[in-house]
Symmetry: C2
Subunit: 349 residues, 2 copies
């Protein structure tokens, strides 16, 4: 396979202008809905629609395991990854509840879980390998594996878009995956691992120091090249992270906005943006998480999260919580009356 980046168009400036003008004529002081108004303009530009609708929503949750877990970087064992995938398929996880509440469907993808998973109608089986290699001793993936995983993400989101979807959220499950995400953040931002490393699902103080040392070692052993995003992804990434980078690229190529979740999914979006900067206007950051490296990655991406609810779960949970806010932003444009329609006097402009 020779990997090729999809073509991503610039946003539709005419649609943005049309929505901005309409916002200024709706029965409210101009600008008084703040970031909701900004969101509606962003949706219009990304989707190329003067009345953007995001009624059809999906969360794509990708799962993968990480060889680096052998270094003791996580509070949970790798066996939890397939267990949680089964929990997703049975509808009992947080992302199932939050997606149902938001009226969104959930797509679960095995990108590289280190266990055989049963066939299930809700599971998309695209395993690239049974987990990555231990990046503390060598590259997590080959470059060909990384390219295959990104391409898989593009194909999966393209298939979902063909089924009909207006807005995509990305989420992940993979014991140990804050470790590669931190290494990715360090590689692209140039900041030291110690400034970017958090507790993930909850390692203690000794675990945190070990995790920082492991990330430093992975960067020293592999020398990821930040000017070559595929090199960074292959050496210190993960299969679910690569797949989600592909989802971002594939969604943007079809003008579908992508809602990013916490630290790991933001690292995946950053990989996509470093591969192709044109994805940026298609990204909506849902929340700022507890994970300390998240802010640096959001800044590097140039996105501002909608809220901070002290979340640190992943799975796409924060992104699903943002769905109603984004849908509200679109509905304001479509459903509110203008001053003229409602017979309301305008203020001094």
């Amino acid at each position: 396979m020779t990997f090729k980046l999809p073509i991503i168009k610039p946003v539709d400036e005419a649609a943005k202008t049309a929505v901005l003008e309409r916002q200024n004529n709706l029965t409210k002081p101009p600008g008084s809905l703040g970031r909701l108004e900004e969101l509606s303009v962003q949706l219009a530009g990304a989707m190329g629609r003067k009345r953007p609708s995001v009624a059809r929503k999906a969360v794509i949750v990708m799962a993968g395991d990480h060889g680096v877990v052998a270094e003791g970087v996580s509070a949970y064992p790798s066996e939890v990854t397939p267990q949680m995938v089964m929990n997703f398929l049975h509808g009992g996880a947080a992302i199932n509840v939050l997606a149902r509440a938001a009226g969104a469907r959930v797509v679960i993808v095995d990108m590289g879980v280190a266990a055989a998973l049963p066939d299930h109608p809700g599971l998309v089986k695209r395993k690239v390998a049974y987990g990555t290699q231990n990046m503390a001793v060598g590259p997590a993936m080959t470059r060909a594996q990384a390219e295959t995983a990104v391409q898989t993400g593009i194909e999966i989101v393209t298939a979902e878009i063909k089924k009909g979807v207006d807005l995509i959220a990305i989420g992940e499950m993979g014991i140990g995956n804050t470790t590669p995400s931190t290494a990715i953040a360090a590689a692209f931002t140039g900041q030291p691992a110690a400034a970017l490393t958090g507790r993930g699902t909850g390692v203690d103080d000794a675990g945190l120091l070990r995790k920082i040392a492991v990330i430093e070692r992975a960067l020293a052993v592999n020398h990821p090249n930040p000017a070559d995003a595929m090199d960074v992804l292959a050496k210190v990434g993960g299969f679910e992270i690569a797949g989600l980078a592909g989802v971002v690229l594939g969604a943007a190529a079809r003008r579908v906005p992508v809602v990013i979740d916490g630290f790991i999914s933001t690292a995946a979006a950053l990989v996509a943006a470093e591969l192709e900067t044109a994805v940026k206007p298609y990204l909506i950051a849902s929340h700022e998480s507890v994970e300390i490296g998240h802010q640096a990655v959001l800044e590097r991406l140039g996105v501002r999260p909608l809220f901070n609810l002290d979340l640190r779960l992943g799975e796409g949970t924060g992104a699903a919580l943002a769905f109603p806010l984004i849908e509200a932003a679109a509905r304001i444009v479509d459903e509110m009356a203008t001053f003229v329609e409602a017979g309301v006097s305008e203020g001094a402009k």
Copy 2:
């Protein structure tokens, strides 16, 4: 009428403990849903339920006019208040759109609009007077009027709760009402008007200076007594603010949590809390608004808003946007699987 405060019970500690224990057994790292977990515990304590449900939601929007508008404190004329009430009744305002999106009903109340409003099945007509008096020259209301307005709010929310509702949001419409709200904030916090006065719907620099001077004059002329919250409300309040204080008191008395919106509705909640501090655990702050005095009022109340989306519209819009987050918090407790149920290994605790 002799006004009497309703009796408000302390929260249910056993229900809080039960929800906290359940949160720690659900298939996620303990605490990883952050403020959603806190919200679920608060709902349990307030409602006295181990599995709180907030499926039935209502926004109570109260409208009133303000004599102080004669001083030139608003970017819009008072005629906009009844015009916007008609817009609410026809479903074209922002609060209509956002309440529909959240699956909430809207209750519109004329507490003191300075114009006769037509009969309409969606309008609760409880006008105390045709607008307040100009507080820059004397008290906005008599004490009896303030008490009547608070009592009206208690009656209205009690009637709504009897119809069936789990969660109430409060919103308001009243040209000029950031001015009395700022005076209320200054009276209770002791901070100078200049530190608390914002642009409301959008006055210019000259308007802002005039507004600060008017608030200082209202405080100097009326000497509101912060130890007597009804005195503050009568002298520098408004009919819709008083009504909403009553909604808070009446809802808390029946263990229904109240979601507060922006600066004005938070000022109303503060009046309720200064009348009866036991309302505090029943309050959920939705957002921090652009209005600069909002933070001081939130701090005085001891509540932490869920998000900041640069909103400054009022009507209950920010509170309606918080509904899905609060409902999600409740549904997590009810619908997620535990580690044992899902067969997922727990991490080191």
